[in-house]
């Protein structure tokens, strides 16, 4: 049973690494989508022993306009900007574009407890703390 669990863990780790490499490969993709009028925000993830901390840069956003959706293995961020940002000739598409907010789904590297997650918003930066599902326990040394 333990061995099977370990193999599954290793396969999942490999899957995450492949996802990461794939994202790296796709890194050239634009950080905006004119079809839905959304930017992709800059995001940083830090994995600690007991939790995962995700920070997100959200200019032009107010705290009350942020929607967070957490599952055990993902965090979805949607945030409306206080006013739409219009560009008369946007980038390579060279046409008028309007952006209303930010959207991003972050795949988490370990399972977390969604109900115990916390978020705060300061100076336009969102900080989400996601406690990891406990899979370790301390043992005493005799």
């Amino acid at each position: 049973m333990w061995r099977r669990r370990r193999i599954i863990d290793e396969i999942e780790a490999l899957e995450r690494e492949i996802d990461r490499m794939f994202e790296e490969f796709l890194y050239g993709k634009p950080m905006w989508d004119p079809a839905v009028g959304c930017f992709e925000p800059l995001t940083h993830m830090e994995e600690l022993e007991d939790k995962i901390i995700v920070t997100v840069d959200l200019p032009y956003v107010r705290r009350e306009d942020i929607i967070l959706d957490v599952t055990p293995d993902s965090l979805r961020i949607e945030a409306r900007m206080e006013r739409p940002i219009r560009y008369e000739r946007w980038g390579t598409v060279q046409r008028r574009c309007e952006f209303k907010g930010f959207k991003k789904e972050v795949k988490l590297p370990s399972e977390v407890v969604p109900e115990a997650s916390k978020a705060k918003f300061k100076h336009g930066y969102l900080i989400v703390e996601l406690p990891k599902k406990a899979t370790r326990h301390k043992i005493e040394v005799e």
């Binding site: 890194y27 930017f39 800059l42 940083h44 840069d57 200019p59």
Partner: protein, 254 residues
């Protein structure tokens, strides 16, 4: 069009207008928190510096930027009076940094610059708790160190430096050229106009400039929005040059 005394094929600075009487060169390239880039942009716009040249190299990515319908190389410099500013709209690949430093120092020597000032950020984990980032200095010579002390800029006492400013400082040390690095406390992977404002306040004192930072701070959200993509690219470039080493302590007790 005149050209610098560079090494030719690999990388060279090309001047597009005659330049003379230059004394100080500020170098602000994409790095931690884009502090150098944001600082350079604000200085160029506020002081109304003219475009004076660009960096040409087959080692740089094949990128041309278009501004108001006009194609331009991404690494350019601007000048007016005794001041020149070198900046870039793309991160400089790690493999090109030593050649870049070499050419900047060749050019600085040919033009008779008295002082080089590289500006950048130094990542601090508690940046969100800091209202006005501190600025630290590093100098290549005794004379440059005195310039920092006279302007009451605290010295960076311990640490590693990695990136464009480290390459420029290394080459300055080798050639005994007066060179200063100014590092503002900054976000690591988010554009940081507040850190750039701190650098500009120090430059005002150091170089007797009179550049206001109010508009820069008012435009902070717009800058953060517009520079997301170059920040992302710069972040990848920093990872490749092992930038995280800056967060470590040097091992030697000297």
């Amino acid at each position: 069009m005149s050209e610098s005394v560079g090494r030719g094929d690999e990388l060279r600075i090309v001047e597009v207008k005659p330049l003379s009487g230059l004394r100080t060169c500020i170098i602000g390239l994409p790095d931690v928190g884009l502090v150098g880039l944001i600082t350079a942009n604000h200085l160029v716009n506020s002081l109304g510096l003219d475009e004076a040249g660009y960096l040409e190299s087959k080692l740089l990515p094949p990128v041309i930027v278009v501004h108001n319908g006009e194609p331009k190389p991404p690494v350019r410099f601007f000048a007016q009076g005794g001041l020149a500013i070198l900046t870039s709209e793309i991160p400089i690949p790690a493999s090109v940094l030593s050649l870049l430093a070499d050419e900047v120092l060749n050019w600085a020597s040919a033009k008779g610059f008295e002082l080089l000032v590289s500006v950048s950020g130094i990542a601090v984990p508690n940046r969100l708790e800091i209202d006005t980032p501190e600025v630290y200095g590093v100098a290549s010579t005794e004379k440059a160190r005195r310039i920092l002390e006279d302007s009451k800029i605290p010295l960076l006492e311990e640490g590693f430096m990695v990136g464009p400013h480290a390459a420029i400082l290394g080459e300055s040390l080798k050639r005994k050229v007066d060179s200063i690095i100014l590092l503002a406390q900054s976000h690591y992977q988010y554009p940081d106009p507040g850190a750039a404002a701190s650098i500009i306040n120090i430059l005002n004192r150091l170089l007797s400039l009179n550049v206001e930072v109010k508009t820069l701070l008012e435009q902070a959200e717009e800058i953060r929005l517009k520079t997301r993509e170059i920040m992302q690219r710069t972040y990848k470039a920093m990872q490749r040059m092992q930038k995280m080493q800056e967060q470590e302590l040097p091992p030697m007790y000297v």
